[in-house]
């Protein structure tokens, strides 16, 4: 019994120590962000603010990043909605209307989510240039939707595979067609996986860097590109940088905080059947 208590205490000590390490980066961002300019010094990085909380770092960080936060937002919202619709239709057809070779087709599509984008980058840039979608947000939305097809199809397909055929059979007897079954049975049942896919695509597109850096020009930079640029600049103080980094990470952090359940499901779908 004594041994059991000691082990239990040890369990909590380890867990709390690990939790503190995992939270350290966020703690640093908050701590530095809330200090006034005159208390910011590398030597006192871990000291608590002595004269109350200030938000001037966050204001300065926001002033630096606000156009880019806007760019990211205008890119991510249509991207998440459109690619979830596309994924839902593809997932429905590839799970409920299998034709000869449809599993092979699906596997070929799935491969697209693993490729390093460096291997298609040169043709992509040339192509986007030719069709005049280079440099701006619509082009980036377009690219994210196309390369999102594998993962969105996968999540919806796995979800629909769990819907029993009896439900569809009943619909067939009532005379519903392929499109009717989707409209009246499948789509109304899809809310949970729409949540998963929209959140997943939102997070992915918000955090993405390579396409954003290559396909947009400076005035249309999403927040990741702008943040990386800010971090490399000598003109910005590190306290402002910490506040800006937190602002850039905030939307996905909030999504995680409030909708973490769905976020985790998207993550697990990425691991295929496991």
């Amino acid at each position: 019994m004594r041994r059991h208590v000691i082990l239990r205490v040890l369990l909590y000590v380890i867990l709390i120590a690990l939790a503190m390490i995992y939270l350290l980066p966020v703690y640093l961002m908050l701590l530095t962000g809330f200090k006034p300019f005159n208390q910011v010094d590398l030597k006192t990085m871990w000291d608590l603010p002595t004269t109350g909380l200030y938000i001037q770092n966050f204001i300065a960080g926001f002033n630096q990043l606000s156009p880019n936060l806007m760019n990211s937002l205008t890119m991510v919202i249509p991207e998440a909605i459109l690619s979830s619709l596309l994924g839902s239709i593809n997932g429905y057809l590839l799970s409920k209307w299998k034709f000869r070779g449809s599993d092979l087709v699906f596997s070929l599509v799935l491969f697209g989510m693993f490729i390093p984008y460096q291997s298609i980058l040169i043709p992509l840039v040339k192509f986007m240039f030719t069709i005049k979608l280079y440099g701006d947000i619509p082009g980036l939305v377009f690219v994210h939707i196309i390369y999102g097809i594998p993962i969105t199809t996968l999540i919806f397909r796995n979800y629909y595979a769990g819907i029993g055929t009896e439900v569809l059979e009943a619909g067939r007897i009532d005379g519903a067609s392929l499109t009717g079954l989707y409209r009246w049975i499948i789509f109304p049942l899809s809310a949970p996986s729409f949540a998963v896919v929209i959140i997943w695509q939102f997070t992915q597109a918000w955090n993405e860097f390579l396409f954003a850096a290559v396909l947009t020009n400076q005035s249309h930079w999403p927040v990741t590109v702008a943040l990386n640029n800010l971090a490399g600049s000598q003109l910005v103080q590190w306290n402002v940088l910490m506040a800006a980094t937190l602002l850039a990470a905030l939307p996905t952090l909030l999504v995680y905080l409030f909708l973490g359940r769905y976020f985790l499901r998207g993550l697990m779908a990425g691991a295929l059947k496991g």
Binding site: Y22, L86, W97, F99, S119, L133, T245, A271
Partner: protein, 358 residues
């Protein structure tokens, strides 16, 4: 089977109207330019009118009452998009990698494997890249597996506040590699003496001065090892979630039976749970492995161009878009693709086979 054409006049009129609308918009857009809020929307307009045109076609296809054909017809736009943007572009890249394209003007003169041979034989930077990628991949996967399994076993003991702990270990996953690299760059600040800061400063407070290090600025090749830290911070929680799912899917009766046979808790983990988790480990290795083989943004944010921390993803980027050495860039891209394919393709094939059996 009712494979016959069933004419539905109102639908046919609708379909023709949609086709005419889509086609005429497409035709107009090839002649003029569409501008919305000062942006050139011609291509997007063409795409949308093309899709409208295709919807009209689909309505006619639906009249044939063959649902397999209709299902394929609806899938075609997505499949064509993937065929072009994934497979077509890979072939195009392959062609560029076999060319002599240097400079802004495309030059498709065929030079065979020249770029690949040069990368492997006398390119010092690419040598560093390979070593860095191997080191990063091995350390990253090992650390994630060990930490992930450890965390899963700890949480499996059902401590109070289990959900809070799980949330804390998982949240870094939602942050971008760029943001993570920026913050960890400051935490792992290598400055010494009076400028001591970041984690080194914490070590100093704790009287653990012997731990104070130069982090990712350590001499080659070991500096690269430290770039794994932020990546593990972000993905060990994901590995934990995979293992936790695996452990919880093992029925309680299995453990109960082992306990009845007199096995200790440690023995249950060692001889019963661990072997049953092998498929989870395989999935984790593949997911983590394909991420680390193409690691890019994290190193961009952390290394800020430091050649000692270079990886193929960054080399491809700089040689192509700063050096205009397109052929070499394409070759590096193809090599990255091959490394990922070796890992992923067997997994995809196995996944497909096991599904077909069901």
């Amino acid at each position: 089977m009712r494979h016959k054409f069933q004419l539905n006049l109102p639908q046919l009129i609708l379909a023709v109207a949609i086709i005419v609308l889509g086609f005429s918009t497409m035709y107009t857009l090839t002649k003029t330019q569409l501008t919305v809020f000062g942006n050139d929307f011609t291509s997007i307009g063409l795409l949308i009118s093309g899709l409208i045109f295709y919807v009209g076609i689909l309505i006619i296809v639906a009249m044939y009452q063959d649902e397999t054909v209709l299902s394929i017809a609806i899938l075609i736009p997505s499949l064509v998009a993937v065929a072009i943007f994934v497979y077509g572009f890979i072939l195009w890249s392959l062609r560029v990698s076999l060319s002599a394209w240097q400079g802004l003007r495309p030059d498709y003169t065929f030079v065979g494997l020249k770029q690949y041979i040069e990368l492997f034989s006398n390119d010092l930077r690419f040598n560093i890249d390979i070593r860095n990628t191997v080191m990063f991949t091995v350390l990253f996967i090992l650390a994630c597996l060990v930490l992930g399994l450890g965390l899963a076993i700890l949480l499996e003991q059902r401590p109070k506040g289990e959900n809070i702990f799980r949330g804390i270990f998982l949240f870094p996953m939602s942050i971008s590699f760029i943001a993570s690299g920026v913050v960890w760059g400051w935490l792992m600040n290598p400055a010494t003496g009076a400028r001591l800061t970041g984690i080194n400063l914490i070590f100093h407070f704790l009287h653990l001065d012997f731990l104070i290090g130069k982090w990712f600025t350590t001499a080659m090749p070991w500096g690269m090892a430290y770039t794994v830290i932020p990546a593990v911070w972000q993905l060990s929680g994901f590995t934990m979630a995979l293992y936790l799912g695996g452990i919880r899917s093992i029925p309680e009766e299995v453990r109960e039976a082992a306990r009845v046979d007199g096995a200790s808790e440690f023995q249950i983990y060692r001889y019963i749970i661990m072997p049953m988790l092998q498929p989870v480990t395989l999935s984790a290795v593949i997911i983590l492995g394909h991420m680390s083989l193409k690691i890019f943004d994290l190193i961009v944010a952390l290394g800020k161009g430091d050649i000692r921390l270079d990886v193929p993803g960054i080399y491809m980027w700089t040689t192509t878009f700063s050096g205009n050495n397109y052929a070499q860039g394409a070759a590096i891209g193809m090599l990255m693709l091959i490394s990922v394919a070796v890992l992923v393709v067997p997994y995809l094939i196995q996944n497909m086979r096991s599904e077909t059996k069901l």
